[in-house]
Amino acid sequence: MEINLETLEIEIVDIEPIEGGVQVFARAWSDGQQIGFGKDGTVDIERFRIFNPPILVPDENGDIVLESLDNDGQTQTRTLREDLVSALLIELSTTIVSLKNLHDSSRIVVGKRGNTTSTFYPSMDELVAHFGLNTTWASMRAAAGNFHETAINSSVKIEFSTTSNQYEEIHRHHSHHDTSAIGTDNIISANFQFYVDQFTDQISASSSANSAVVLIESTSDSTPANSDFKSFGTTEFGRTGAQNTMSIGYVTIDLNSSGLSAINKTGTTKLGLKYGWDFDNLTPHTNGATYVSGGEIRIRFYQADQSGTSQDPKLVIEHEAAGGARRIFMVT
């Protein structure tokens, strides 16, 4: 079913606090037609659990102003307001549109409650980078990190230096989520979402397939550090299309079977992001990018705020209780 975010309506049937967050039972409509949840579209009321839920929403007249210095020295400002109701509704709406199992209303069984969609906001996230000077691509990728940042923005980025076909910066991202609440449930599907607030392309590369953002395993610990620049696995969990196919707002990457297997049902799921060139080890200036002195390509997105905003990165997981063995009764 095609979901129109602009006409989405949500009814909160019930809501209650749970350990680490809030649980919501909700119905939803798109273009006036009720959405049937679940694999077969028979679910009337879906259960959503949000861990470490957001409470802040963007508002240009808001009374909460967050400022930080971007890595290029520019001051970045976000203006927000505290609005618990709106923050939850934005969270639900962006989660609903990302779900795999959305159907029209034709098979809804009135009152039927569904499985669970859980949203996990980061327990830790960070930008990690290496800043070099007139460095080859191979040396940049192999270098130790010399920067990390946990404030407002993170990004994936590649920047050329002033020497032809050499490089100056690579940015990568870590995002850790406490997914222990999944427990023994079976995972049906999952996606990772990050909220982009700015795209930059000074090297004519955003139409290249290598400008995709690749979701991979993070192997860093929970303490942010420069050395986390190298703390990534080698298995791909999913990727976006080319940069010019993305828009400002949440960008969603569906987890493949490797990604689903990597979700830690009793602890922390650790995810990372790199540009396609970086993950696939393809030298940008010979694989879709044009050398420009000091030129860069970058996707900038919000990191998790301490209090939680409706634009924080999130891991959304659809799961269901593990079924017991089928029992057959013979009646004579």
Binding site: E6, I12, I18, G20, N52, P53, I55, L88
Partner: protein
Amino acid sequence: MEKLSDAKIKAAEAKLRGKTVRGAIENLEAKEKAGIKGVAIANAFKTASKKKRYRFDKATKTWK
């Protein structure tokens, strides 16, 4: 996932009393912060209208 006990909810609400949520959670451990936000959000919807159909209003940029 178990529901919070009544005692824990009362403790969380006591911490919120007289403060904004943001102010109340700033100095707390991550797990405690998350739990308190859950209590506050549930209470906010009980104060608003739980059964209402909410829709995003583009003009005011709020859910109504």
